[in-house]
Amino acid sequence: MNESLRNIWTILKRELTGYFASPVAYVFIVIFLLLNGFFTFMLGGFFELGEASLSRPFFNWHPWLYLFLVPAAGMRLWAEERRVGTLELLLTMPITAAQAIIGKFLACWAFLALALALTFPVVGSVYYLGHPDGGAIFAGYVGSLLLAGAYLAVTVATSAMTRNQVISFILSVVICFFLILAGWEPVTSLLVRWAPAGLVELVTGFSVMPHFASFQRGVIDFRDLLFFASVIVFSLFGTSVILRGLRGA
């Protein structure tokens, strides 16, 4: 195996075992599943809608659910390293900062993917009750995972900014909230009334909402993939700049 891949894998493994070494991971998964169930069946009106689809009752809530849960899962990634001083240990090992950043990001993303995968009973329910569009459900899951990845990348960056996990949490919630609001219909319809069309387009261009919406509809578009990929790459690159700044370069 290539040396840099091996380093990423070693860090990923450490982070993942770190999650499951404490009860935090289990608590997180339980809360995630409970909230998902609550939103889907109680608020989402899964049964009242009477359609065999997950788009509205299930995926609709994910941007809001992830807004708090993803920063909570990722806030410790760098903040804790900085607080305890293990950052010095990690970055004096024969690895690059990029390998460490990617390893940590992938570990947390894999953890979120596991939590998301555990929502499979919802899929079972729609199949039991009707004849849903399997492709749309698959696209929804892909979109949901990418959305979580985008939030997580932002959290990784804010986590590197501070040694305090709470500050990292709040910062990433604020930024992710902006990523939602910039393209959320109630906000954009307000904006349209007075702002020039170019500005509205620029602001909504930052939002995850229209891109997530097309996954929800069951469309996997290259442009949407590119959007999420670029948010992730940009944030992770930002993290490496922040880490370099920390060391006084």
């Binding site: 070693t10 001083g85 060391r247």
Partner: protein
């Protein structure tokens, strides 16, 4: 193995390290001394590649730490100042992780972990979580991490800090043993430690190297170094002083009245060239005069005094 050349580090307007240069060869143990905030840790962080230097060069073996960081870091074992460990892991998990990061695989890892666990007396706590360990054990766990891959270069920031006297002794023994084949640099506040294990010492103050030499050379720079100490009974202070001052090789003479009725005399050499003959002359003078003395020795000078003399700010010196 370690070549540091004109290293400078600035944090904003503050210059923490200002033109530090030195070399550590294989088989050498360099003691790194200095008051708090002198720039010791910052220098070590630049040597290990954690901080990029503002200017200057660090070479580890054949590799420049800024240009080939990975190759250089492979040669280094590093114990940071606070001995940080991942607290959510077990000792063995932490060491195995480090071993993997150092490129070891399978049986290699088992062997390396077993070796350092034995060296650092960690066998009893291998399966304990790091955050349940006492400070001494945590410290040794981090130390174990630094020697896990049997590195050519060892950089230790206060390796004996927070250890009990037995553990301190153990760690010093390990350092001394490893020092025979590796290049080691370690910082400390404990001056006896430098005398006990270093082949060379550097004193750094306000970001610059102010002294560089073997412990013996540094001690010779002490004020009292080379003076002869004589303790006599039943001799008048005046006689003692005039007789000793009369010696051709002697310079200043200080008489001190001990509480038990004896007198101590400290005779400084007149100049460097008379140092060697001083003790003999004093001894002859004492026997010729028929004094009964129970102590006669040449002062080596204390590293403490040198350290204080070099690193004390001028304002404090004036006050004393």
């Amino acid at each position: 193995m370690i070549d540091v050349e004109n290293l400078i580090k600035e944090f904003g307007p503050k210059r923490a390290v200002n033109g530090v240069s030195f070399t550590v060869r294989r088989g050498e143990i360099l003691g790194f001394l200095g008051p708090n905030g002198a720039g010791k840790s910052t220098t070590m962080r630049m040597i290990t590649g954690f901080f990029p230097p503002t200017s200057g060069k660090v070479r580890i073996g054949d590799h420049d730490i800024s240009e080939e960081p990975i190759a250089a870091k492979k040669l280094i074992g590093y114990l940071p100042e606070s001995a940080p460990c991942y607290s959510d892991m077990t000792v063995s998990g932490f060491l195995r992780f480090t071993a993997e990061m150092r490129g070891m695989r399978g049986a290699q890892i088992d062997a390396a972990v077993a070796r350092v666990a034995g060296l650092c007396f960690l066998e009893g706590v291998l399966h304990q979580s790091v955050d349940t360990l006492s400070k001494g054990y945590r410290h040794r766990t981090c130390f174990a991490q630094s020697i896990l891959h049997d590195p050519e270069v060892l950089v230790l920031d206060e390796p004996t800090d927070g250890l009990d006297p037995n553990q301190k002794h153990e760690v010093r023994q390990i350092i001394k043993r490893m020092g025979q084949t590796k290049a080691i640099i370690f910082s400390t506040h404990i001056l006896e430690e430098v005398e006990a294990c270093c082949s060379r010492a550097i004193i750094i103050d306000r970001g610059t190297v102010v002294a560089n030499g073997t412990p013996a050379e540094l001690k010779a720079r002490a004020d009292a170094a080379g003076s002869v100490h004589l303790r006599v009974r039943n001799v008048a202070a005046e006689t003692l002083k005039s007789r000793l001052s009369g010696l051709p090789v002697a310079g200043r003479v200080q008489i001190h009245d001990n509480s038990d009725g004896s007198l101590s005399a400290r005779v400084f050499p007149r100049d460097k060239s008379t140092r060697a003959d001083l003790a003999l002359s004093v001894a002859q003078a004492a026997t010729q005069s028929g004094w009964s003395f129970d102590e006669l020795h040449t002062e080596e000078g204390r590293l403490d005094d040198v350290f204080r003399a070099i690193t004390l700010p001028d304002s404090v010196k004036a006050r004393e």
